[in-house]
Amino acid sequence: MRSDVTFNSEELRELLNLWYMNIKLKKVQAAEKLKTEVSEQLAKGEANDDVVKLALLIHSRHHILCKNYSEAEKLISQVEGFSPYLKEEHLYYLHLFKGMYLYSTKDYYNAIEEYGEVESYLGYIQDEIEKAEFFDLFASALYYLDYTNRSAIYAEKAIYIYQLYPAYERKLTRTKIMIALNYIDMNEFDLAEEYLHSALQDTSIKYDYMLQVSIYHNLGFLYERKGLFEAAKRYLVKVLKHTEFDNYLSTIYMLTSIAFEEGDFDLGKQYHEKAMDYHKEKPDEDYYWKFKILYVKYVEKENYINVLNNAVEYFEEKNRFYELQTCADELATFYSNERDFERANHFYRLALGHHNNLIMFHSRR
């Protein structure tokens, strides 16, 4: 509609900001409209080079949102080609989006390297919330990759900014959860508890049930790790009615595991059945195997080794290193006790091979 109007570079920059905002908010339709509008404006050839480069970068971010990773990669490489002529603002977005692209292709090590590069250009970014969101993004990636200390540091940086802006209260609460989870990984359970309860208090002041459910799950996770099963169950059962919770199978997995561990096999079987029903509606193969192993370990013990063998095949195919190592190690011990040394050797090597991969991954930090 506005194609008859020609924007100058400043106006186009505003349009790019709006496009980027909509991408960050995952508003695909609005982002698509703005993409068309930007393309029309760029076709008029009035924009300066800096704006064109920025548009290419934001377009790559748009592709990441739409999961067109190969297209995103092409644009990122194109902008990288201008490297000597890029300003700090471009370099900030280039490293940020390249990091996102690499993370989405599961190249985690290089993604973290790129995010590390982003930091040196933060001084050139005016928008404080953009900075906080970067710290937040970096911290959550670091958490899932088990860079625990670094994750906590970046989450603290995000908190420092978010707490200055009341509109970002929800993100502040989320970041508290992230710090608590890092404390759990450090076995600093008391500190984790403090942060989770503070986050829970935030949600009761301004009622946000999805955040609340997440905190209940995490409190259950904390107490389960601490071995306080009664407390863990108290929080985990609060999650049960919220089947829309995106970690739902993880919640039931913990409840099933606790029930079996406590010798309450009937309850364990009930939870297991519930999980399988859920899996039928929303399949999750990783959890399917995790539940299967748990079930045969306590209920159908005669199938335990058979299922472990099948699970190893699955986890190996999917590169689920931690689970693969755990199962292979268990099988190696079993075959070793059976004096079947050939098989024992095979599984020890499998477990050790992946153990070495993990050490390599982390020692490259």
């Binding site: 990441i64 993370y103 989405s104 088990d146 989870l181 996770f221 997995y253 689970e323 993990l358």
Partner: protein, 43 residues
């Protein structure tokens, strides 16, 4: 010299402590839940 030694020890401790709890996203190990987080590729 002493400074170098301390730095060396610190580096070693960092590597060892990081290996102690090894796992990463693809590992499917139980991790906590961060609402609206980018766990895999959901940007």
């Amino acid at each position: 010299m002493a400074k170098k030694k301390i730095l060396g020890i610190l580096a070693l401790v960092t590597i060892l402590s990081s290996v102690a709890g090894y796992s990463f996203t693809d590992s499917a190990i139980e991790k906590g839940h961060i609402p609206d987080s980018i766990r895999y590729t959901d940007f």
